[in-house]
Symmetry: D3
Subunit: 177 residues, 6 copies
């Protein structure tokens, strides 16, 4: 396995919201966006690992902006950090109307994947190298988010989450937006 920069793992996915993708109100159905986000972010992982991947976790998805029939959806993603058997991807979703207004950010999220071989066995991945300020912040925060995932999944005790604990002891949580 080879190391790459975060930037090397960047992927852009674009979709137009078709009737097939909408709910009865004519807006993009949340479940469809979740599915597109899953595919888009798994491609970032595959660019880095050259392996097949399975989705391990999804967290912190919040939908703020309704996206309408005919809007363009752009999903940009990159790998933020690699743990022993998992890779965290940060992704941002933008929507753009075709009326001359600029694209606006719809939401962001973290998806976690495991790289696997042909038999479905996990493969350890090489590290990614953050370069920009934003990539470095996301790299640093990844440990905290991982602790949170383990606590919420019942696989870590809150008192052992040293990084996360600091957050509540006067530390500043930095929203990635």
């Amino acid at each position: 396995m080879k190391s790459h920069t975060c930037s090397f793992t960047r992927n852009t996915m674009t979709e137009i919201v078709m009737p097939n993708d909408t709910n009865p109100l004519g807006n993009l159905m949340g479940g469809n966006l979740l599915k597109w986000m899953d595919i888009a972010s798994s491609i970032s992982v595959m660019k880095h690992t050259n392996c097949l991947t399975v989705t391990a976790a999804v967290d912190s998805v919040s939908f703020r902006e309704p996206i309408h029939l005919g809007d363009l959806v752009v999903i940009e993603s990159f790998v933020t950090r690699v743990f022993k058997s998992s890779l965290e991807v940060y992704l941002e979703v933008f929507k753009r109307k075709f009326d001359g207004t600029p694209r606006i950010k719809s939401n962001s999220a973290y998806y976690t994947f495991v790289a696997i071989d042909k038999n479905g066995k996990p493969i350890p991945a090489a590290e990614v190298i953050p370069e920009t300020e934003k990539e470095k912040n996301l790299y640093a925060g990844a440990k905290r988010r991982r602790e949170l995932r383990l606590i919420l999944g019942g696989r870590m005790k809150p008192e052992d989450a040293t990084e996360l604990k600091a957050l509540f002891d006067g530390g500043i949580y930095q929203s990635p937006d």
Copy 2:
């Protein structure tokens, strides 16, 4: 709006994993399960509110068990608690193979929705009433999970998250599983 018990909002959705739903390894694609979970849990909200809904947030989804082509997927969901403009749904996903073995739990998750009217405006929903031990625990924990969502979304400062803070000060986090 009328109050209902949590039990009144229960919904069961069953799907067989068809070729169309799988990834290149022949397993249910994570993104498809996220989509099914979205539809299943929105039905619980609609049973309670008799309104259309939009997905507001997804958190704490973790996938532990690969689900294969031909497996049966059962998604059970109910509304755990209602906040001013949002409703949290707890859902459990089970998979069952058709070989005589019992169904096993695949994963659980929380989805948050907003009930809306025909113009897409949020509608305040009536409270749900927890009855069983499990429902009461989930009701109690909903406030903590909401604080966490607000912090992660950058809309609350960690020091204001009184409920969540207690968790790290010797409190016990109770995994819903």
Copy 3:
């Protein structure tokens, strides 16, 4: 193969009518409902037999109520009786609008399946045990419906259909609705 009660084979499938499922008038397309009914009832068979299944026959489907975009469709099914190599499933379809009105029955139908092994060979299934009045009536009528299927498929002569013949000789046909 093990015997089970009819109740053990019960399955509930819920779907929201999405734009993708409608005809040009904005109603659920008949063909889509037929497909959902096929999947829903095959799950009842799989619960009983723990086998893969193939659809053998569909009869007596009548659509009375248009189902609209955004409506909830609930399909409830159970195995009514097992013949040598086939199993009959009875299913009821309900629609529910999200406007406070109660759900109403849309239609009912019988689907017949054959349980098969990995090579596609039919497998004999164990009997199901009816418990309620309704289950007993459906169990009793299954023989008549099977004769009708054989006659209509050209595999039985009308004069040999002793059960069905009685129906026209003053017997009462009991509609399962």
Copy 4:
């Protein structure tokens, strides 16, 4: 509304069985064939009436031949007879493998439709005129099949089904195959 010959309403629909259409065994899923049959036969009705249609009933579908991934499916249909507010369509399904063997008949069925206007109200349709022997037989049998549908739907008493009754009193039921 204008009268047409049965032949005028003939429609041919061809589909290749794609991975998307199969069940976990790699065969065409029964539910998908039911959906294709619905679309194919509704086109026959539209050719005759120049109206939108809704599916009213499906009966006597029996599946004898498994159809595999990559096979060609040909559905041929025509309107057999028009009643006050409904039209019966007879359809035959053929499968063809691409190995030099001739196409073989897979199954046949009757679908019943109602022609409707833009507001969803039923429109009375003109009669169809049978010309060939086969069309005439199907035209003659349509009344019997309609009685059967009404009885099975609980809307006619068996003793009033004069045509169908004759069937069991020494009459010959002619399978359309």
Copy 5:
């Protein structure tokens, strides 16, 4: 491989434009029509060769008529000529509204396929025999169109395209419409 007449390879495919097939304006999306044309014309090739096929080239598709939700689309195709390893199919697309007006031609196109065996290797196909005036014209023009394809694909020099060159030297190009 056996020779067949062009007429033997004729195929008719009919589809109703469903919500799923439209763009945000409610018209059949160009991309969906391209996909249907691909399937329809590949069936003509399979009828002739009894082999699986892969699409090799598409050219000269022009869309003149918007096709609306609920319209009927009829695609008629046949093999025009066979080259060493490729077969050209001519196809015409018609749309029909259900308001009593006759069907009108929407567009025509040429798709080129290669017949392949189970391992994906090209198989030489037997010739097709044109019978009608139209089939003979299309057979004659196929060589010109093939030269054009080779030039546009950078695999032939314009000065070697003897047939096509004649076209510009006072020859008459005969549009197949």
Copy 6:
């Protein structure tokens, strides 16, 4: 309408080949790629015009490389030139396997669109400005390709195609690959 550089209209679309997208051999179905190419290139047009678009023509698509289940497909497109009521888009398709080998070019094509308003009426678009060598070559060749489209569509006589004629009189046709 505002002018933009070709580069401003660039769009990247990425897809993983899912089981749903393949033909019975397990390769990406040509028709599906044609559909993705249609969506990808229409986004380039929308970026330039801020309007809805309809596909007007497709030409010179040739498929050289089979693309397999699980491969990544990347479609890159930009507007090459604007004519009175139509815009030509050039697009390149790349496939990438996840085995460490670099991505390879699968094929290229030209799609032509018309920008339309909400009533479906064509809207004249502003010019695009080529900057790189490749963009300038494609801009220059667009006139020739347009003449060819008009001739093949029967709307121009070969002798009037002055640009194209030069091609056969010793001119060099430059393949865009």
